[in-house]
Amino acid sequence: MDFSNRKTADSRSHGASAPGGVSCGCETAAPAGTSHGCETAAPAGTSCGCETVAPASASCGCGQKLPGPAPEAGLVLAMATVPMEPWENIYEPAVALRQGTIFPGLDKPFYVTGGGGLV
């Protein structure tokens, strides 16, 4: 399918944007996945939300803390993200059928019927 128009998104809704499509609307652009290095507050009249900053793992270098993960590559405002499951050694078939999945990472028992490891 041709989505050739998608790169010419309306410019008024974005400030400078980082590669990887992450924008904090600040004057400075950050490489994807890194802090945007905003040592100083955004210029008057623009907001990058940088009055507050994400917790250490996703810092943008300014003052206070956000109560949750900050926008970054893969975590975009107004959208939810579920991480991709990485491959792992799968259960043997008999165990898998009992647990309801071959993937140990997705084996999330309910306290009434499980939770003490493999039954």
């Binding site: 991709m84 499951e85 491959w87 078939p93 071959i102």
Partner: protein, 99 residues
């Protein structure tokens, strides 16, 4: 557990492994580990279902072969007669057959 029930249980287990791998491969189509696991499960399932449909009833239409199905004559209305073996075996939702 009867021989039939034991074999059917193994088919359920490897069939389920394939079902869960199927969904993973739908979203990870290039995962080589998953592709390998899928190929192994598919091979095992093929062996098991060939054995099962010879000794007992066919589980899919493709397995229906009145000359070679159900040699044990289990759960059939027509033991000893050549018949349409698709109706052999208990109904899947009825546990009168044990599994």
């Amino acid at each position: 557990m009867s021989e039939r029930a034991k074999l059917l249980k193994e088919i359920q287990e490897v069939g389920f492994t394939m079902d869960d791998l199927l969904l993973y491969l739908d979203t990870h189509p290039l995962d080589q580990d998953a592709l390998k696991a899928f190929a192994q499960a598919r091979e095992r399932r093929y062996q098991l279902t060939r054995e099962y449909s010879g000794r007992f009833e066919p589980l899919t239409l493709c397995q229906v072969c009145p000359d070679t199905n159900n040699k044990t004559g289990t759960f059939t209305k027509y033991p000893g007669q050549k018949h349409f073996t698709w109706s052999d075996g208990p109904l899947p939702w009825d546990n009168q057959g044990g599994v």
